[in-house]
């Protein structure tokens, strides 16, 4: 995972872009950490920042585990954060099964590291307000995730 070019406004960090490489798990979580910190700095609640961060983390892991490469973009609006994750992966064969907790097609190396337990997409669904999956077999997958923002205490 490489922070290739962060289009971050130094003032408010309203958007960002990350390039993700398949198999490079060492820096996983970078997107999530940046998103959480940006939302907190903007005065949004810990709860919505945590939900967005968990969604971003799982989406990033999906790219690392299943795809050759991908990108994660986020845009923070006044009432929601939009996270778009696009990969050049194998595509999801059966979305219904992929959304079922415990169903996993992850390789052994990911499972050895404690990932690939079939909780990724279900976790994104649970932690977001909207999840759209656009997948084409052999081409790739785009996840469009929205989390509503609430003010911090």
């Amino acid at each position: 995972m490489v922070l290739e070019s962060a289009h971050q406004d130094p003032e408010d960090e309203l958007e960002g872009y990350f390039s993700i490489r398949g198999g490079e798990f060492e820096d996983a979580g970078t997107c999530a950490t940046v998103i959480k910190s940006a939302l907190r700095k903007l005065g949004h609640s810990d709860e919505c920042a945590s939900r967005a961060a968990v969604s971003a983390f799982e989406a990033e892991m999906n790219v690392i585990i299943h795809a050759v490469a991908g990108t994660l973009n986020y845009t923070i609006g006044s009432d929601e954060i939009l996270i778009t994750v696009t990969d050049m992966g194998p595509g999801i064969e059966d979305i219904g099964r992929a959304m079922t907790e415990g169903f996993s097609t992850a390789p052994e190396w990911a499972k050895e590291k404690g990932w690939g337990s079939g909780l990724g997409l279900p976790n994104i669904k649970k932690h977001s307000d909207s999840l759209e999956i656009d997948t084409r077999k052999g081409e790739g997958t785009t996840l469009t995730i929205r989390v509503m923002l609430t003010p911090g205490g």
């Binding site: 798990f25 060492e26 820096d27 996983a28 979580g29 970078t30 999530a32 950490t33 959480k36 810990d46 945590s50 961060a53 968990v54 983390f57 799982e58 892991m61 590291k113 404690g114 990932w115 337990s117 909780l119 990724g120 976790n123 649970k126 932690h127």
Partner: protein, 116 residues
């Protein structure tokens, strides 16, 4: 539930401080799991997390979830890149020779001791 800091738990477990974050932080209950998605989904801010994993993703998970610290049970050696990342992000890593079962039992008694 008893109020304990990360340091008090570290002392009770006779754990090595492999990476030092805020040891004065109050521990809010404990979560035990080796499935990282499960920890992302169900741990809460301030939890102590007991795991067998030592790779660098545990730091990112702990950081994103705002955990009070991570206990690596079973005496597993922690790789240098994990330690560096933990120091950079201020995440406490405690290496403990006890098994997960023993460490979890000890932490349970400390936090919920006397409850029954």
């Amino acid at each position: 539930m008893a109020h304990l800091t990360t340091r008090e738990i570290q002392e009770a477990l006779k754990a090595e401080i492999s990476a030092q974050g805020d040891l004065g932080r109050e521990v809010v209950n404990c979560y035990v799991s080796d499935l990282l998605s499960d920890v992302l989904a169900k741990s809460i801010e301030g939890n102590l997390w007991i795991t067998q994993h030592t790779h660098s993703n545990i730091v990112a998970v702990a950081s994103v979830k705002g955990l009070a610290g991570v206990v690596i049970a079973g005496g597993n050696k922690i790789p240098e890149d994990t330690l560096e990342k933990a120091r950079a992000e201020g995440v406490t890593l405690l290496r403990c020779d006890m098994s997960t079962f023993e460490a979890a039992g000890e932490v349970y008694n400390l936090l919920k001791g006397g409850a029954g």
